[in-house]
Amino acid sequence: MINRNLAKVLSFRYKILALVLILIAGSLVFLPKYAKHEGIDPESALANAISPERYISADELAHKIIGQDPSILIIDLREIERFEAYSIPGAINIPLAKILEEEGKTYLEQDAYEIILYSEENFYADQAWMLCNRIGYNNLRVLEGGMNSWFNSVINPPVPTDQMPATAFDLYSFRKSASMYFGVGYAEAIQEVKEAPKPKAKPKQVVPVKKKKKKVPEGGC
């Protein structure tokens, strides 16, 4: 009697064993994710961090803004007071502390735009870039030199000296017109415009006054 009962139970033993295994395997799904090791592996994160590919120069950015490139999104990582004092036209303010919060995520986690991060220099922007790169956000760029380089090259470009090559003058004229686009007034620019037509002024009109030949007095008898 006992043996028969035992045999009955034992005939199920494989099924029970299989069930236990399946249950254990199923429980793996409910394990919490290993939160610490999020994102790409450290080796590729380091390689990406070293590569200067992420940098965009202030001139390039100015060119894009003036050309009204619809694919760019500029993000200001500075504190709100600094952002309100001055920001690059079209920029959105997300302070560095908030980039990983929901507010930052909505802007940073997408593929549609080319996002340009900037801060006072590029130190904080680089940090933000490296964190975002680790999580796997795409299409992020960093304004090289940040606000300082924006001011020194686009808003207030240095005047090239006479010894400089022609490219320096071309660059200067681009930067100057860019800065005028961003609202800087140039005294000399206005003067130049005035001076320009002067040399074009018509040369003195010499009206050839034909000398009338003295006529021998007519008449006479």
């Binding site: 494989y14 939160a35 610490k36 090791h37 999020e38 994102g39 592996d41 450290p42 080796e43 994160a45 380091l46 390689a47 961090a49 070293i50 600094r82 004092a85 001055y86 560095l96 502390a97 980039i99 990983l100 801060s119 006072e120 220099e121 590029n122 130190f123 904080y124 680089d126 940090q127 490296m130 964190l131 680790r134 999580i135 940040g146 606000m147 300082n148 924006w150 001011f151 808003i155 207030n156 961003f182 609202g183 800087v184 007034g185 140039y186 005294a187 620019a189 206005i190 003067q191 005035k194 003195k204 009109q205 009206v207 006054v209 009338k212 007095p217 007519e218 008449g219 006479g220 008898c221």
Partner: protein, 210 residues
């Protein structure tokens, strides 16, 4: 007969599962470096900005000084006591023992490069991997007459007030514009239309006659 078939099936299944486990074990490689800090923890660490140190804080015992510039520049000149860890080679086998030691002893690591920006990538890696206590030496290192010059720099110094600059430039420009316009109006008066005076000769009544 039936019993035999059953055992056959079971043994085949057992062998297969053992094989799978073996293959999995053989293929399993523990990654050499694992993050110990997630991104939000790293960010809070970054926001404290106490990781930026100056050369005055350098003379501490039990600290390691890391030079992340390339070996060529390192040979040319480096801060005394520095170890050269070229940034791209940080996680290679070359420096594995070095990093292991730092991790074990939980040393403070001072990192410097040409500028703080260059040291940042190594700093971020060490920070997220939890190796030692990384710090950035906020200095600029450059060569002048083949001599290494170390100069303290401020990180993220504020840009000049751009809106103020734009306002003043516009004001100045409009001032000069007004001035030159005034000049223009003055100038206008002495410059009357140039009329070339072609004197009409009076028709002379033919002279002569009796």
């Amino acid at each position: 007969m039936k019993e035999l078939e059953k055992t056959k099936r079971i043994s085949i299944a057992a062998v297969l599962s053992i094989l799978i486990v073996l293959i999995a074990l053989l293929n399993y490689q523990r990654p050499k470096y694992l993050y110990t800090q997630n991104t939000s923890k790293t960010l809070t660490k970054l926001l404290q900005t106490d990781y930026l140190v100056t050369t005055d804080d350098m003379n501490g015992n039990g600290t390691e000084l890391i030079d992340v510039r390339n070996p060529f520049d390192f040979e040319k000149g480096h801060i005394e006591g520095a170890v050269n860890v070229y940034a791209p080679e940080l996680l290679s086998d070359k420096h594995a023992d070095f990093l292991e030691r730092i991790k074990k002893e939980n040393k403070t690591v001072l990192i410097y490069g040409q500028d703080p920006d260059q040291a940042l990538s190594v700093f971020m890696s060490l920070c997220q991997l939890g190796i030692g206590e990384p710090r950035i030496l906020s200095t600029r290192n450059f060569f002048e007459k083949d001599q290494l010059i170390t100069e303290s720099v401020a990180v993220e110094k504020e840009a000049p007030n751009v809106s103020l600059f734009i306002e003043t430039s516009v004001k100045n420009a409009s001032k000069i514009q007004n001035a030159s316009q005034a000049k223009k109006t003055v100038k206008k008066t002495p410059q009357p239309k140039q009329v070339s005076p072609v004197k009409k000769k009076k028709k002379k009544v033919p002279e002569g006659g009796c």
